[in-house]
């Protein structure tokens, strides 16, 4: 960590976004993670994405489980409410929060241990429910906070400090998310901000369950070059299927691309995603082929990244439950309590 707390006074010339907020308005407390931890880069990307999208910080709720990754919500969006819940159970807490107020933006931050080990069940079921959220796993293949044991995404055969060898086959959260019905699935790398920031922005704009698996090396316990979660490995094997540009309605579209090299995705809120194809044959609208591609490349040791699948017009949990448009936490006696007259009728029906 850095000991120097950032000066809090606002510099007059700091650039502001559409809402007049500066980048600093999206920052949080000073990180207490290890110097060089991948997670800190992801926090920076989240801050950047929210700033660029001109979101009102207090309209965002950030929830997490337990772990170094789950600590990070303290280090970004200091003006947003946060909830550091219990290990592996963030998805249910976020689902409940979303049920109570459909109008906020929900960021779910988790780790590979938090989501793939103890939390696998909740991870799966919240995706099945189409909860409108951005679910980010900061994936380092290890338990950082408890000092280096294997997580369920750890490579088979990898060795822990104390000599233990991992014998379980690893879980690919992206493949699971695709199978379980997530309507937005991406993978990125904490070291690739250019790819990560637009991906997070697109996920936020997406309505429904958006999942992003971000490889985020743990410099303290799992950054040896053999580890598929190390900086070196990912840099060497990163296979981006596409490059994403988020274009908000309001922005005019400037960049122009060679024909056939670009996909244009219009999201429910009118925002436009431009996908510059890198793998020509890759189709981000086809769940099954996406899954197949992913697994074939994975078998070759490649780390497939980018926006892997999107279903732009998918509904969310509230659409499925058909709840009223107003947030449930805002309804009062008038809307909720049938009152004495109705009760008298009810009593009569039970005589």
């Amino acid at each position: 960590m850095t000991y120097i707390a950032k000066p809090r006074l606002r510099h007059p010339k700091l650039p502001t976004n559409a809402l007049g907020y500066t980048h600093r308005d999206y920052e949080g407390a000073v990180s207490t993670l290890c110097a060089g931890c991948g997670h800190d880069s992801i926090s920076a990307a989240i801050i950047q994405a929210c700033f660029e999208l001109s979101l009102a910080p207090h309209r965002i709720a950030k929830l997490s489980g337990i772990g170094c990754s789950s600590k990070t919500p303290t280090y970004f969006l200091g003006k947003s409410h946060g909830f550091n819940s219990v290990h592996g159970r963030m998805p249910s807490v976020l689902t409940g929060a979303n049920l109570a107020n459909r109008d906020l933006i929900y960021l779910g931050i988790s780790g590979d241990g938090d989501s793939a080990s103890i939390g696998l069940g909740q991870f799966a079921h919240c995706l099945r429910r189409a909860v409108d959220m951005v679910y980010i796993v900061e994936n380092n293949g290890v338990y950082g906070l408890t000092k280096g044991q294997f997580s369920a995404t750890a490579d088979k055969g990898s060795k822990a400090r104390r000599g233990a060898v991992n014998t379980d086959s690893p879980i690919d959260l992206v493949a699971l998310a695709l199978q379980l019905g997530a309507s937005f699935v991406g993978r990125s790398f904490s070291g690739d901000k250019a790819q990560l920031v637009p991906l997070i922005k697109a996920a936020i704009e997406h309505r429904g369950a958006a999942f992003i698996d971000v490889i985020s090396p743990c410099v303290a316990f799992n950054n040896n070059p053999e580890s598929t979660k190390s900086f070196d490995y990912v840099r060497a094997h990163n296979e981006a299927v596409n490059r994403l540009d988020m274009i908000l309605e309001r922005d005019e579209i400037t960049a122009d691309y060679a024909p056939g090299t670009v996909e244009t995705v219009v999201q429910h809120d009118g925002s436009v995603l431009r996908l510059r194809k890198l793998a020509v044959d890759y189709d981000p609208y086809d769940r099954i082929s996406a899954l197949t591609h992913l697994q074939q490349r994975h078998a070759l040791g490649e780390v497939v990244t980018g926006l892997l699948f999107v279903e732009p017009d998918s509904g969310d949990m509230h659409d499925l439950l058909d709840t009223v448009d107003a947030p449930l936490n805002g309804l009062g006696e008038a809307e909720l309590c049938p009152g004495p007259a109705a009760l008298a009728k009810f009593n009569a029906s039970r005589r």
């Binding site: 207090h58 807490v93 689902t95 409940g96 109570a100 107020n101 009223v324």
Partner: protein, 613 residues
């Protein structure tokens, strides 16, 4: 052979059936028509943990005195299940009555000679009249209902009216049912002398009371209490609470214009998720609840600890069943008291409510949401299978016209804007309860980070001992405040002054009331206090102080409420005599009378009497 029992409007009829044979609705009709005749009655289902084919019983207590707890013993057995014939016959009181299907003859050895035996050729009649197997099965039940109505001199009109109501809409079904009913009546009137010694006489003792089960009532209480989020996982005997909530919501919570729902119900993947959703929703300002039973309580422990320490409202209905482990899933008990009161690791104390019947289940359900918001902590409504799944005859449900929700201490955008100091864990009022803000309230003020780790008064992460102790002490103080807010206990003073008292709670109430009368007849006088909540109101401690010996009646093995009382009240255990009933059946007046009576006989009452003025 002893005199056949002769009783009017005061006896017990028990039906022995096979699960899934369609007897349930016929039996319910029997009970309901008695109520329609203005006679107080209660009915209890004793069913197996299975869907079809195993034994199930339906016990109807008819009591003009209005004693509707389980009495014990059976005056008339309707034995429709060959599997359980022997035990069923054995349960009949001497001089009682046996009604059975005599279609295929049984050897005399199968009967008793100290009871009156009434064999009806039910199967024969049914097979004669119907061809379809399912119909034969179903109408057989209505036929025995008809026969009973004649034997017990029931008001046929009442039954027919009920049948009419039951099949309103599917009118084509009314006739055949009425026909089946009369097949039974005609047989009885023709072949038997009617009525028998047990008879029902129209009366006017039901009044405004309604017949309802506790899960249904509690679910309605959630609607009235303003619950908007329910997350649950199916488990007997709590499932019907969540399902009833859905039914009530479809009726009372649809937006008239948009037809959209003013509620959200999620059947979660398990209990860890359901309580997690409740915690998330409550954190975010919705009134949220879950309903479960013992195994679910065990799985929710970690989250309950988080809600206690992070101070998040949550309402949990624990419909208690036979335990530990999977235990007796379709039997009743009051054995989750400790696991709820001290839920989760570490030092915790939780608020528990103990409704005595469906009427209070409704009231306490609504109340629980106010308490949870006011105290910002989990609140448990401790039901049990007896209250939850059986139809009780109770006072009509009541709601005060201008009652408002108490949303507790939630700081508003206006207050924040006005610069009111906000510290999430800052005790500004000295009652141990602090202000919270809801996410999204104010652009720049009042945001805080909720966590299960130690924090200071401003919700900042801290590993400092003093911050921790300060916070834990405040939580104790808050719990002391809760004493004043939870439902007060109900006291009853004996006709004669006495040094003896009794404490009871929950579904024990009706049996206790009946027992007290019986004891009084034996010259045993007890003051009583019915505990309605934990933490204990001061009145409970005063009551204990005011008596030499107090009987504490519970439906568990380890006297769980007693242990809470001894500790929180610093009471000498010697003064609290446990009376424990825990075989999974609802406690009976007979059991209580015997248990307390025997003990007091030992204590030889004479000297005590002297001691009194």
């Amino acid at each position: 052979m002893p005199q056949p029992i002769a009783a009017t409007n005061d006896f017990v009829v028990k039906f022995a059936n096979v699960n899934g044979s369609g007897s349930a609705s016929a039996n319910a009709l029997f009970a309901k028509s008695i109520l329609r005749m203005g006679i107080p009655a209660s009915s209890r289902n004793i069913f197996p943990s299975n869907i079809q084919g195993l034994p199930t019983w339906f016990e109807v207590r008819i009591s003009d005195k209005g004693h509707l707890g389980r009495r014990g013993g059976v005056d008339m057995m309707v034995a429709m299940n060959p599997q359980t014939w022997d035990e069923d016959i054995a349960e009949i009181e001497p001089g009682g009555y046996l009604f059975y299907d005599a279609t295929k003859p049984l050897p005399p050895s199968k009967f008793r000679d100290d009871i009156t035996i009434i064999g009806a050729p039910l199967t024969a009649i049914s097979n004669r009249e119907y061809n379809d197997a399912r119909q034969r099965q179903l109408f057989k039940n209505i036929i025995y209902l008809g026969a009973l109505s004649a034997l017990l001199d029931m008001d046929a009109a009442a039954i027919e009216q009920l049948i009419g109501e039951q099949f309103r809409g599917k009118d084509t079904l009314i006739k055949p049912n009425l026909r089946a009913l009369n097949l039974g009546r005609d047989w009885a009137l023709g072949e038997q002398e009617c009525p028998i010694g047990l008879r029902l006489e129209r009366a006017d003792q039901v009044g405004q009371r309604i017949s309802i089960n506790g899960n249904d009532a509690a679910a309605l209480g959630c609607v009235y209490g303003g619950a908007t989020v329910a997350a649950w996982y199916p488990i007997t005997p709590s499932s019907s609470l969540a399902e009833a909530f859905a039914t009530h919501c479809r009726r009372y919570r649809i937006d008239p214009e948009t037809k959209k729902k003013r509620y959200a119900i999620v059947q979660a993947e398990d209990e860890l998720a359901s309580i997690g959703m409740v915690v998330g929703a409550a954190w975010n300002g919705a009134r949220a609840f879950t309903a479960t039973s013992g195994p679910g309580i065990s799985l929710m422990q970690e989250f309950i600890g988080l809600a206690y320490f992070a101070e998040i409202p949550a309402v949990i209905f624990d419909v208690q069943r036979g335990s530990p482990s999977t235990g007796m899933p379709t039997r009743t008990q009051q054995a989750d008291i400790l696991s709820c009161a001290h839920a989760s690791h570490g030092d915790t104390k939780h608020v528990l409510l103990f409704p005595e019947d469906p009427h209070e289940a409704f009231a306490f359900a609504a109340e629980a949401f106010d308490l949870a918001d006011r105290l910002q902590t989990p609140v448990f409504v401790m039901l049990d299978l007896d209250i939850g799944m059986n139809d009780w005859l109770v006072e009509p449900l009541a709601w005060d016209e201008d009652r408002q929700f108490d949303r507790g201490k939630v700081m508003t955008a206006e207050e924040l804007e006005a610069g009111v100091e906000f510290g999430r864990y800052l005790d500004v009022d000295g009652d141990g309860i602090t202000y919270r803000t809801l996410p999204g309230t104010h652009p720049t003020r009042g945001a805080f980070f909720t966590r299960g780790t130690t924090k200071d008064r401003y919700a900042r992460y801290s590993e400092e001992g003093p911050d921790y102790v300060d916070n834990m002490q405040r939580l104790l103080h808050k719990f002391a405040t809760a004493k004043r807010l939870v439902p007060a206990p109900v006291k009853r003073t004996a006709r004669e002054a006495t040094r003896f008292g009794a404490i009871y709670f929950g579904s024990t109430a009706p049996a206790m009331t009946e027992a007290l009368e019986a004891l009084e007849e034996r010259g045993i006088h007890l003051d009583t206090i019915r505990v309605r909540a934990y933490p204990f109101h001061d009145d409970v401690l005063d009551f204990v102080a005011a008596h030499d010996r107090i009987f504490l009646v519970e439906q568990n093995r380890d006297a769980q409420l007693r242990s809470l009382l001894i500790n929180d009240g610093d009471i000498d255990p010697a003064r609290l005599v446990p009376i424990l009933h825990y075989d999974g059946t609802p406690i009976t007046a007979r059991f209580i009378v015997k248990a307390i009576g025997d003990m007091l006989d030992v204590v030889t009452l004479a000297p005590l009497r002297k001691a009194l003025p």
